[in-house]
């Protein structure tokens, strides 16, 4: 019972990370049709920035998290302006390749600044709390709450504000959005900033309970792709629910079936879905 509760909590924690990264990925895909292969690397940068601010500069953990989100969000704007916007009206393959270039660049920069060494930071909430008689690591519970706040804020923004509505319109129909006077380039830039900040937030939240290293984003990106494709490219609810579902399936499968092949789950499911439905779950095959 205790093991099960622990594993479910772990699954929800990992799920928060997957969902935050997948949400950004799906928003970027929806508004710009760019599969951002470098998205997990923004998550990695968030983790490193929080680590540096807390461990090296002695900043408060939440201040560090916020600063990391702002900095990486700014980087998102730079990436959009310098890399993706100029490629928007060229071949699809070009923006995919450019994303791979960004990935290589960010990972190399991280290696340069922080070396390949695994980093670890202490959480300000290192204790154990007891909920209903079961012990839980305090930071994990706080991570769950913080991730929920971020996702809630995103949903409110997307559904209750004019800018959010404009972003959704852009994602639904680019030409239609332009036709009604939405500055779609601006929306794309805003989407990139928000998505990058969400990924960085996930990285900063997870840094105290996992290791930080330059290639930590690769597998997360790939799993986020699996989630986004399964949930429907561009779909926000799909990314949100899919992230938690995949993480729970992985954690529980890893505990009760086989830990060796835990990382394979996402990709096998993805391959199976594509085999049966070549255009993903939620789109009609052409």
């Amino acid at each position: 019972m205790e093991l099960l509760a622990q594993q479910i909590l772990n699954g929800l924690v990992t799920g928060s990370v997957y969902s935050l990264v997948a949400l950004g990925l799906t928003l970027i895909y929806g508004t710009m049709q760019v599969p951002n292969f470098a998205h997990g690397h923004l998550y990695m940068l968030g983790a490193y920035l929080a680590y540096t601010l807390v461990v090296m500069a002695g900043a408060n953990y939440w201040v560090a998290t916020l600063l990391a989100m702002i900095a990486v969000g700014g980087l998102g704007v730079v990436l959009d302006r310098l890399v993706f916007r100029p490629l928007r009206h060229t071949l699809h393959i070009n923006s995919m390749i450019a994303a791979l270039g960004v990935l290589l660049f960010l990972e190399a920069v991280a290696q340069l600044i922080w070396t390949e060494e695994f980093r670890h930071m202490e959480s300000p909430y290192a204790g154990v709390v007891s909920v209903a008689g079961l012990p839980f690591t305090a930071h994990r519970l706080i991570l769950l709450a913080a991730a929920a706040v971020l996702m809630g804020a995103l949903l409110v923004f997307l559904t209750r504000t004019l800018a959010g509505a404009a972003i959704r319109a852009t994602a639904q129909n680019l030409d239609g959005a332009r036709l009604v006077g939405i500055d779609t380039d601006r929306m794309a830039m805003m989407t990139f900033a928000i998505s990058a900040a969400l990924a960085a937030g996930a990285g900063a939240l997870v840094a105290p309970i996992s290791l930080v290293y330059p290639s930590m984003g690769t597998l997360v990106t790939l799993k986020a792709f699996a989630i986004v494709v399964l949930g429907g490219m561009g779909s926000v609810p799909g990314a949100l629910v899919g992230g938690y579902l995949l993480a729970l399936a992985e954690t529980l499968g890893g505990t009760y079936i086989s830990a060796t092949y835990q990382d394979l789950v996402a990709f096998v499911v993805l391959a199976l879905v594509f085999t049966v439905r070549p255009a993903g779950l939620f789109r009609e095959a052409p």
Binding site: A98, L104, V109, F225, F267
Partner: protein
């Protein structure tokens, strides 16, 4: 001498240079680097068939490289098979795997195809890494015997092996050149440039793309098999996404869809990365930026830039 004449002589000059190169490198280390560059050039030529000729961004090819390498390595170490049987077996297996994977993945299009193949590549990588009873997991396969003598020719020396790899590279180029000039190759280009139009003039687009995928998987398997036989040890990293991204870099720097581009790109990028190793990890910083700049300002790569220059000179 006119530019047109230079262009016609270029392949012969390049061939002569690559034949002489192993003889003039200063020491064994450079010879090994050169030979590895030839191996990666074969991989790049293979990737070019699906990406450059058929216009499909496959991210599964490091997986085929890994399958080729592990098939050769395991046949040589566990089954005691000769390299001369192990390598063809690896190529056959990769062709078959390429045919099957291609048949399934190519039904998805555009971004979906890229993501699907990425997942397939990762499945290959993870299975190689986790299937310890067969592949020894992270430890990898060590003590892979090199190619044995072929009649009077011995492949004991690095120099002889280097020429063996070069021969395979030349054969690869010959095959891809023949392919490109053949009706099949031209249907590939047609399907790449406008799938709907190609289909409307009666081209079986699916069969064409599947052909390209199978050929490129076979070439990746050849490169993998040579890699195993030449290096002598093998780890799961051979099938990793890093290998995938590097190969992609070689093809794109050289020039998508051109014959010699991937080879030039490999020699330039792999050579540079060896030179820049003095700079430790800086080289990927530079390559990352280079990749972004290239795709924006020079999407046809080095080969495209040279062709444009020659076109202007004519």
């Amino acid at each position: 001498m006119t530019i047109a004449l230079v262009a016609r002589l270029l392949p012969a000059v390049a061939l002569a240079a690559s034949v002489v190169a192993p003889l003039v490198v200063p020491n064994e280390y450079y010879l090994q680097v050169l030979t590895q560059a030839y191996i990666w050039a074969i991989m790049a030529c293979g990737l070019n068939v699906i990406l450059g000729f058929a216009g499909q961004l496959s991210l599964a090819h490091a997986g085929f490289f890994g399958v080729g390498a592990y098939t050769t390595a395991l046949l040589l170490t566990k089954a005691g098979v000769s390299f001369w049987l192990g390598l063809p077996a690896a190529i056959v297996l990769c062709s078959a795997a390429g045919y099957v994977v291609g048949s399934i993945c190519l039904r998805s299009q555009g971004h979906y195809f890229a993501i699907f193949t990425l997942a397939v590549g990762i499945i290959f990588h993870l299975v190689i890494q986790k299937w310890e009873s067969l592949t020894h997991g992270h430890v990898g396969v060590i003590g892979i015997p090199g190619p044995g003598s072929l009649g009077p020719i011995s492949f004991e020396s690095t120099l002889a092996r280097s020429y063996l790899v070069l021969a395979c590279l030349v054969a690869t180029l010959a095959v891809t050149a023949r392919l490109l000039a053949s009706p099949v190759g031209r249907t590939m280009l047609a399907a790449r440039d406008n799938e709907a139009l190609a289909a409307s003039v009666g081209i079986d687009v699916m069969a064409t793309k599947r052909m390209a995928f199978t050929v490129s998987a076979a070439l990746a398997g050849l490169a993998g098999g040579l890699y195993a036989g030449f290096i002598g040890f093998l780890g799961p990293e051979a099938a990793s996404v890093e290998v995938m991204f590097n190969s992609l870099l070689y093809v794109i720097v050289g020039g998508l869809g051109s014959l010699s581009g991937p080879v030039t790109g490999t020699l330039v990028v792999y050579g540079l990365s060896q030179v820049l190793q003095v700079l430790h990890d800086y080289h990927m910083v530079i390559f990352g930026i280079a990749l972004v700049l290239l795709i924006r300002f020079m999407p046809d790569g080095l080969a495209g830039a040279v062709a444009a220059l020659m076109g202007r000179g004519r």
